[in-house]
Symmetry: C2
Subunit: 245 residues, 2 copies
């Protein structure tokens, strides 16, 4: 027996989030069901980030033991992709040490968030981006983003049901104007609270539409009051891009 | 009462094709259901092209009477988009003459077909492109495409259940390498037989993979035998792009 980490992509549209919940279709649930078919035994997996309903991944990392020593990493990848539903794809399998837990070990997580600013919607992007038909002021958003960088108490930007330590480190936020109509907000941090990224994006968009001045970010962050945060950005624009260990 | 033509986009994934069929979710069915809600009366619509299950549209054209003279074209567009499901979108409403039938009046129809040639699949494109992880020889495909251009008997490239006159005019086929991994085959013609475009794309891909020489297209076209055609390209890569009148 050895342990591996799978790098997986999924389209979050038809999942009730990443984490197993009995009675719901989840990414972890589909993965474990598939591993049980392959290894004829119940396997528990360890994911790196618990993405919410509708949130996508390009580089979620999930570890599990490989019970069959005759299978190469490539065999495991091919067997998983042959059985998994069409909205999950295993991109890579790598060996890791026994009981490797991606959630505890990740030193950096990168997410990105896509905003579509065209005046008319694009139905082909409806589950992939946040459609916001406004001219966003990117320079102001970049200014506001700087207040989030560094180590802060993110109480204002979490949800009530996340009772963990609210102090988190954001290494960097980049706002990239991919083309006339797509804005990508790329956030690198060590780890994030529940809804934290979507709340940060919601606040940056408030600044981008001129409803808020950039300085307001600093003020509400320091106030540590959840009621001061704007509405969360919707799930479908968020992608778990990668994790580093 | 006046007549209008709507230019509509739809994601064909969850439709049983364009044309109404009782008991199935179709684009025409959803449109007519929505018009009945708006005008409180059953309305029959006239579409330009009957796309199959899974085929998409960016510019399908559909005509119908507007029963309420107080509604502007913009009002009609907004009312439709407010009620239609999220996988259909009305892009434009234009006035046309009474009983305008887009199917009979179109002088040109443009379709495009997208092929994704990356070695690994992209789950976010799974219902949008044909994943064909091979290096396609574009120069050979362009050579082969020339045999389809002009007026021909397309018996080889239709399905058995299309009993109409098999002589069709293709104005032009362009094969565009959008980027390293996406090939777009753009086909302009006056009108097309059932499955004709997907059969043409299937044949062009045979040439692109070096399984066929370009000249074979000319031979099988002249033979007028359906059994000589290769398998159809799958529906999900095909888009009804626009129609000219």
């Amino acid at each position: 027996m050895r342990w591996v980490a799978a790098t997986i992509a999924y389209d979050g549209t038809n999942f009730f989030g990443y984490q197993s919940q009995s009675g719901y279709r989840t990414v972890q649930g589909e993965l474990e069901k598939t591993l049980e078919i392959i290894f004829k035994e119940k396997i528990t997996t360890y994911g790196c980030g618990r993405t919410d309903t509708g949130v996508h991944a390009l580089g979620q990392v999930v570890s599990f033991p490989v019970l069959n020593d005759n299978m190469t990493d490539k065999n495991v990848k091919d067997a998983l992709n042959a059985i998994l539903p069409e909205d999950i794809y295993v991109r890579e399998i790598k060996q890791v040490r026994d009981n490797f837990n991606p959630r505890a070990e990740a030193t950096k997580r990168i997410y990105f968030y896509l905003i579509y600013t065209n005046k008319e919607p694009d139905i082909f992007l409806r589950n992939r981006v946040w459609w916001m038909p406004f001219d966003l002021d990117i320079a102001k958003m970049r200014h506001a983003a700087r207040y989030f960088e560094g180590e802060h108490d993110f109480t204002t930007f979490k949800t009530g049901n996340d009772e963990r330590n609210p102090i988190r480190m954001i290494y960097r936020i980049r706002i990239i104007n991919y083309n006339k109509n797509i804005i990508c907000i790329r956030i690198e941090g060590k780890s994030f609270l529940r809804r934290m990224i979507r709340n940060i994006v919601g606040a940056l968009v408030k600044v981008g539409t001129d409803a808020w001045e950039p300085e307001r970010i600093k003020i509400i962050l320091e106030a540590k009051q959840r009621s001061l945060a704007p509405a969360s950005a919707p799930a479908q624009g968020l992608y778990f891009y990668s994790a580093l260990f």
